[in-house]
């Protein structure tokens, strides 16, 4: 079994284990059982010897160890230990060797027997506020790795959902008034919606959730993936009251877990559907659009489970195409075999519109529904505007139509437009397989661009040299990474800009590679580092950026 298979295997194993935890915790539990279950899951999934959950108590500004008696709790301040660092910084702290880490505090980090080796300390955070800390100690096979960090972060995000859900349920049980109950359900439902629109090259998007007076079960999500694809969700859980709000929240949680673990669209759909079949009360289901947009091919693959009509606005003809659902609602029944996803391709200027039935079925005082015509009228005139504006205009039209009639159901709208101007850009980008065999196509791509832009042919070999150096480093340092490498070329009259993007990697700042002493005698000269040394002299500017496990290297060469 090679490394790629092993890593895929680990993900699948972790995915199943985490979904199993999700299943167990779907049943009502008291908070202590939830926390014990989560600690046990973390220990087992990460092959560790111990895992503990600490809860943050704002009233005393301290962390309390879960499972300790309420009258004699074990408390820790936020000042000391790896625990304190995690709580204060709210970032994952991975300590390969506790003895060598000055921040480690045996008293706070629970090292009673002075035998703790390594530790992974994960903050539990909800909407920027601290919920607690999950500490996993002593991995059986040596220090925790990056894969473990991802799994722990995934588990932590689930952990937060469960803690909040348990707290909500408890509060609700105590609450006497229905409106209080609904408000809390709303808070939870709203808290899972994306707070910012993701940036996807060549695309503009907007999403909004407008709750009804009574509780409905709408949700949406836009999740950018490591390889630039975008996962798009619009969901609507059936029924009214607190149940649907929690069902849609749970579905969002499960989808995010599956995405983080790299599952593909069909397995996500199947796993989550089967989970909902088990969890939802009879006669309840969730209509949902689960789609994957690839901004390179502009293709959207999707399963529209009872969710429709879906809008595909064609900019070239000005036509609104309404597509029907492609399959049954989720949670309705298990699929013996899942059909292949449906597909649509967005041409420049096209808009994909996902709109929940609360909009189409919004009735005015005369009993007339807004319908698809209401949407078409707004889109036909305003499709070229920013999507956030178009969305507001649709909502305005809806309210105009209703003329004061109450909103009976949640309304959720997600609009995604492929920018019309993208095709005219002076930048070209292409993806290349992670292999030395890609060098020939890379050189051809560069040559074609330089020729098309009539750039001095003398620049060709220097650009080739720099790109080859950066590209082959990416190949050599992450040979088993499955992502292709992106190469973008752009120019203005006075400079050429070249960018390489490496997805799903650890940071390596090429601008900070050690300098090479080229005055050493022959016998002391080594080849290592020499390439980057030359690159730094050849390029006019060289910049390195790292974000979302993505290394971006940009260099420029002046023209003329």
């Amino acid at each position: 079994m090679n490394d790629v298979q092993q890593s895929t295997g680990l993900r699948a194993e972790a995915l199943l284990q985490i979904l199993e935890v999700t299943r167990k915790l779907a049943a009502p539990f008291d908070l202590q059982s939830v926390l014990t279950e989560i600690g046990e899951a973390a220990r087992s999934v990460l092959h560790a010897e111990r895992a503990t959950v600490w809860l943050y108590e704002p009233a005393i500004d301290a962390l309390v160890l879960a499972g300790t008696p309420a009258d004699r709790p074990v408390k820790a301040s936020l000042e000391n230990g790896i625990l304190g660092v995690t709580a204060r910084t709210r970032v994952i702290v991975n300590v390969p060797d506790c003895r060598l880490d000055a921040r480690f505090d045996p008293a706070v980090d629970l090292d009673y027997d002075n035998d703790v080796r390594c530790m992974l300390s994960v903050p539990l955070v909800e909407q920027n506020s601290l919920v607690g800390v999950l500490q996993v100690v002593d991995r059986v096979d040596g220090p925790f790795n990056l894969e473990d960090e991802r799994i722990a972060a995934t588990l932590a995000s689930q952990c937060v959902v469960f803690i909040q859900r348990e707290r909500l349920t408890r509060t609700v049980a105590m609450a006497e008034k229905l409106d209080r109950e609904i408000k809390l359900a709303r808070d939870i439902q709203m808290s899972t919606l994306p707070s910012d629109m993701p940036k996807v090259p060549g695309y503009d998007m907007a999403g909004q959730f407008c709750p009804a007076d009574d509780t409905g079960g709408d949700t949406f999500d836009l999740v950018p993936l490591d390889d630039e694809r975008l996962f798009v969700l619009l969901g609507d859980a059936s029924g009214h009251g607190i149940g649907p709000a929690l069902s849609s929240t749970q579905m969002t949680g499960m989808l995010r877990v599956a995405l983080r673990l790299g599952a593909d669209l069909d397995s996500i759909f199947t796993h989550v559907n089967n989970q909902l079949v088990e969890d939802l009360p009879e006669e309840h289901f969730v209509t949902a659009f689960l789609g994957m947009l690839d901004p390179r091919s502009h293709e959207v693959l999707y399963h529209a489970a009872g969710q429709g009509p879906l809008l595909h606005f064609h900019a070239a003809t000005g036509e609104c195409e309404w597509r029907s659902p492609s399959t049954f609602p989720m949670g309705y029944m298990r699929y013996p075999r899942l059909d292949a996803p449906s597909s649509l391709t967005l041409e420049p200027g096209d808009v994909l519109g996902l709109i929940s039935d609360g909009a189409f079925e919004y009735e005015n005082g005369a009993g007339r529904q807004f319908g698809t015509e209401g949407v078409e009228r707004v889109i036909g005139l305003n499709h070229h505007r920013p999507m956030s504006e178009l969305l507001s205009l649709i909502l305005e039209a809806l309210h105009g139509h209703a003329a004061g009639a109450p909103q009976a159901d949640d309304i959720t709208i997600v609009l995604i437009r492929r920018r019309a101007e993208a095709s005219a850009a002076t930048t070209v980008q292409r993806y290349f397989k992670r292999s030395f065999d890609s060098l020939d196509p890379v050189f051809r791509f560069i040559e074609d661009f330089l020729r098309a832009k009539a750039i001095d042919p003398g620049l060709r070999e220097p650009v080739n040299f720099i790109v080859e150096e950066l590209f082959t480093n990416m190949v050599k340092y992450n040979p088993d990474n499955a992502h292709d490498i992106a190469l973008a070329l752009g120019c203005t009259p006075d400079k050429l800009t070249v960018r390489l993007i490496d997805f799903g990697v650890d940071p390596f700042d090429v601008t900070r590679a050690p300098a090479v002493d080229i005055d050493k005698p022959l016998q002391d000269r080594q080849i290592g580092g020499l390439g980057l040394h030359i690159v730094r002299q050849m390029a006019d500017t060289l910049r390195y950026e790292f974000a979302d496990r993505r290394s971006t290297i940009t260099f420029t060469m002046s023209l003329g």
């Binding site: 030395f436 070999e461 040299f465």
Partner: protein, 98 residues
């Protein structure tokens, strides 16, 4: 395209593009030459840092055997790279047309 072979006077002749994908071929050829000395760059358009590694390794072996490599007819672009790499201090280099 990359080619490596021996010329009429026993010199090593390089042609085409010596990139990372071609280095193994170049290194194997140099390793098979007992006493490498003159290397003719007339037909070589491009060399990458991996190619520099092949030259450096061969130069170390050649110096141990008694005399180093002489790189002849090196084009301007490749000569610039040699200079950035400090190869002008550890190789004997003749530029093309010089």
């Amino acid at each position: 395209m990359f080619e490596i072979g021996r010329g009429a006077a026993g010199e090593v002749v390089l042609k085409g593009r010596l990139d990372a994908a071609q280095c193994e071929k170049a290194l194997q050829f140099f390793d098979g030459v007992d006493d490498p000395h003159v290397v003719d760059f007339t037909g070589l358009d491009y060399v990458s840092s991996a190619g520099l590694g092949v030259l450096l390794k061969t130069q170390k072996r050649a110096m141990q055997a008694g005399r180093g490599l002489k790189l002849v007819n090196v084009n301007k672009h490749i000569f610039d790279i040699f200079r950035y790499a400090g190869f002008d201090k550890i190789f004997e280099i003749d530029k093309a047309g010089g």
